[in-house]
């Protein structure tokens, strides 16, 4: 007969500790009480090459949180922003999503990048937490998450706008490259799809390997077809490398890119032979006057540094969520989600409202060129 082993005290102690922690954890309140601050989560890259986009976007949102009392909304309650770093990485964005959905925040300003947003989307959707994003891949909307709104002009518009610009610049053939991530591939194929309508031939769509920084051979393979221009869909670091290596290989034509390369680090990555570069971006320059410039002034006064590319979008997203919560008069998820489809929010970039699918209506889009090592505004895309 087997003598049952007695559980020693030494083994029981860790178990008791774990049980205590679990019970304590479960006891934490989900939604905030009626008088406390409203917690809104923020997921974005605070580290890695995207940190510039992320940290300046976060500051924009924090500025909006500070200014909530000026709007008279939320009956005097404060907004507490809970930022978590997703490093622009889909796996980490999923971890952040799980934390937010279990910690019980009222709403989430979701991942800045499309890849992380697509990965974390199902988790936010399962709980039905109101979520905003500036991930611009159209798939984000076509997935049909009812709790999600995309508050930025999507990539079909970006690709189309760049194709129009290319045609106006006299380009007749383009070699397309993409870094094979959700955003890069998406916007590159949008461009490739829009180009033929503008009378531009696409000589090829090359996906760059993520395991190497060496694109010289991939570039040299496309150059014999003498493209007038190169379009790169993707993020800052591969964009800079590609630009640099294309110039080193003797390419002198127009180099085009989406908002993902709108970062001074891209210009530095190109090196001294930047040449002719045009980039599409969803915000106007901060010195263009009007509400945008006023926003920039308030930002500088609050932080002592210049706003970044997505600062207005961080500000808009928080303002939009606050307006939705105010309209719903409750922090209940379903009510806020419903309110998001009903409101129009007036931000520095103009009116923000979404259609029934959650896509932004008439999002602004602008073209920039690189001149003397900086981005210079060209015009707005209507």
């Amino acid at each position: 007969m087997r003598i049952p082993r007695r559980v020693s005290a030494g083994a029981a102690l860790p178990l008791i500790c774990i049980a205590a922690v679990l019970v304590a954890g479960c006891g934490s309140s989900s939604s905030s009480s009626d008088k406390g601050p409203i917690k809104i989560g923020w997921s974005g890259p605070l580290t890695t090459a995207e940190a510039y986009f992320g940290s300046t976007g976060l500051k924009g949102a924090q500025l909006a949180a500070k200014e909530v009392h000026l709007t008279g909304k939320l009956a005097g309650r404060k907004v507490e922003l809970v930022p978590l770093d997703d490093a622009g990485d889909p796996a980490q964005a999923v971890t952040v999503a799980k934390r937010f959905t279990s910690d019980g925040v009222v709403a989430v300003i979701g991942p800045i990048d499309s890849g992380p947003m697509l990965a974390a989307g199902p988790i936010y959707a399962r709980v039905g937490i109101p979520t905003t994003t500036t991930g611009s891949n159209p798939d984000i909307i076509s997935r049909g998450f009812p709790n999600l709104v995309q508050l930025i002009a999507n990539d079909q518009r970006q690709g189309g706008a760049m194709a129009q610009y290319a045609k106006a610049a006299g380009v007749r053939s383009v070699a397309v490259f993409n870094d094979p991530q959700s955003f890069g591939q998406g916007v590159a194929s949008s461009f490739a799809a829009a180009a033929p309508a503008q009378g531009i031939t696409v000589t090829g769509d090359t996906a760059l390997s993520t395991n190497t920084q060496d694109y010289t051979s991939a570039v040299n393979q496309t150059l014999p077809k003498h493209p007038d221009a190169i379009y790169f869909g993707g993020a800052v670091t591969p964009g800079g490398l590609l630009c640099r290596q294309a110039r080193a290989a003797g390419f002198t034509g127009l180099f085009m890119g989406p908002d993902g390369v709108y970062d001074p680090a891209f210009i530095k990555g190109c090196g001294s032979a930047v040449g002719n570069v045009a980039v599409s971006f969803q915000a106007p320059p901060y010195d263009s006057g009007g509400p945008v410039t006023q926003f920039a002034q308030r930002y500088r006064a609050a932080y002592g540094s210049d706003p970044g590319p997505y600062s207005t979008y961080g500000y808009d997203q928080l303002g939009f969520l606050v307006a939705a919560i105010d309209r719903a008069q409750t922090t209940d998820h379903a009510a806020v989600v419903k309110a998001m489809r009903q409101i129009t929010y007036d931000g520095p970039l103009g009116a923000v409202k979404v259609d029934a699918r959650g896509a932004l209506v008439d999002g602004p889009l602008f073209i920039y060129r690189v001149t003397s090592g900086r981005f210079a505004f060209v015009r707005e895309v209507k």
Partner: protein, 311 residues
């Protein structure tokens, strides 16, 4: 034809860098049977050290150097990196490997992995996670062969790498230190019995190997203009496989393996799209290169030139 020459030169440039790192791996493996994963961290560390060193001397991104001055800058950077690397390599050996000398090899391996993570995250913690940029060295000047463009920088990198490899060959084959290294790499215990101070030999091997790896790191960073804290990871893995391809422990094997891997990657990136009409694109270059590696190893498991590991 010109295009082929272009691809070959691209491949040889990258291959030369792989060869330098492969030499580091092969030398350490030959003497200690240790896959020194720390090299991925050291590779990155030395690129950063060179950037910092150049910054101290007053050269940073934005300086546009030409001609001999540029060449001087490059060599200075390589020298800074190599010395920093050599020293770090010896320190790593003292701290992370010597205490485990009599432990099972697996413990050494895990220690090496740990060191590489510590170095990588240490760099991230101190220098930040955003990429650092290097001054443009010799970027603009190029030769034209047919319709391919070969930049002077590529030729210089190949030249510097060949010189370093030649220097290593001289040290290993024509000096008494080299004799001691070869003896230890052949029969460890017998070498000790014959009076060779194996501790010193190992330290020297680490110094040489790390110096080469560090030089490779700074050449890589200058070639691409960008350095990030994760930049060492993938080139190191590829270089190690190149070392295995050529025959682990064999110095000529490492050189051959590195150059071969670089050229195959380049040709694969260059021709795969054209040959398959876009179905298999340049992003499959690694798949093709590693399929080749698997093929070679199944037919010749000890690598192209055979392995030479200590017994």
């Amino acid at each position: 034809m010109g295009q082929l020459v272009g691809f070959l030169v691209n491949g040889l440039t990258l291959g030369a860098i792989y060869a330098l790192i492969a030499l580091s791996y092969t030398m350490v493996y030959g003497i200690m049977k240790l896959i020194n994963f720390a090299y991925s961290g050291l590779f990155t560390l030395d690129a950063y050290a060179a950037i910092w060193g150049l910054g101290v001397v007053g050269i940073s991104n934005g300086t546009n150097a030409v001609g001999l001055v540029a060449l001087g800058v490059l060599l200075l950077a390589v020298a800074i990196a190599a010395v920093a690397a050599g020293v770090s390599g010896v320190v790593v050996e003292r701290l992370a490997y010597r205490p485990l000398r009599s432990a099972p090899l697996l413990a050494l391996l895990i220690s090496a992995l740990g060191v590489s993570l510590v170095i990588q995250n240490g760099i991230e913690a101190t220098a930040g996670s955003a990429p650092k940029f290097l001054p443009d060295v010799l970027g603009g000047t190029a030769l034209r062969v047919d319709n391919a463009r070969i930049t002077v920088l590529q030729i210089v990198i190949i030249g510097v790498s060949v010189t370093l490899m030649g220097g290593l060959w001289l040290v290993v084959n024509r000096t008494s230190f080299g004799l001691q290294i070869r003896a230890t790499a052949d029969r460890f215990m017998t070498a000790r019995l014959m009076g060779i101070r194996t501790d010193r030999v190992i330290a020297l091997v680490f110094f040489l190997g790390s110096a080469l790896g560090g030089a490779a790191g700074v050449l890589y960073a200058i070639y691409y203009g960008t350095a990030t804290f994760t930049m060492g990871y993938i080139p190191s893995i590829k270089a190690f496989t190149a070392a295995v391809l050529g025959g682990i422990g064999s110095i000529p094997g490492a050189v051959l393996g590195g150059l071969l891997l670089g050229v195959v990657e380049s040709l694969a990136a260059g021709y795969s799209g054209a040959l398959t009409n876009g179905k298999v694109g340049a992003n499959y270059q690694d798949v093709i290169a590693f399929l080749l590696l698997i093929g070679v190893l199944t037919m010749r498991p000890t690598g192209l030139l055979g392995e030479r590991v200590t017994r």
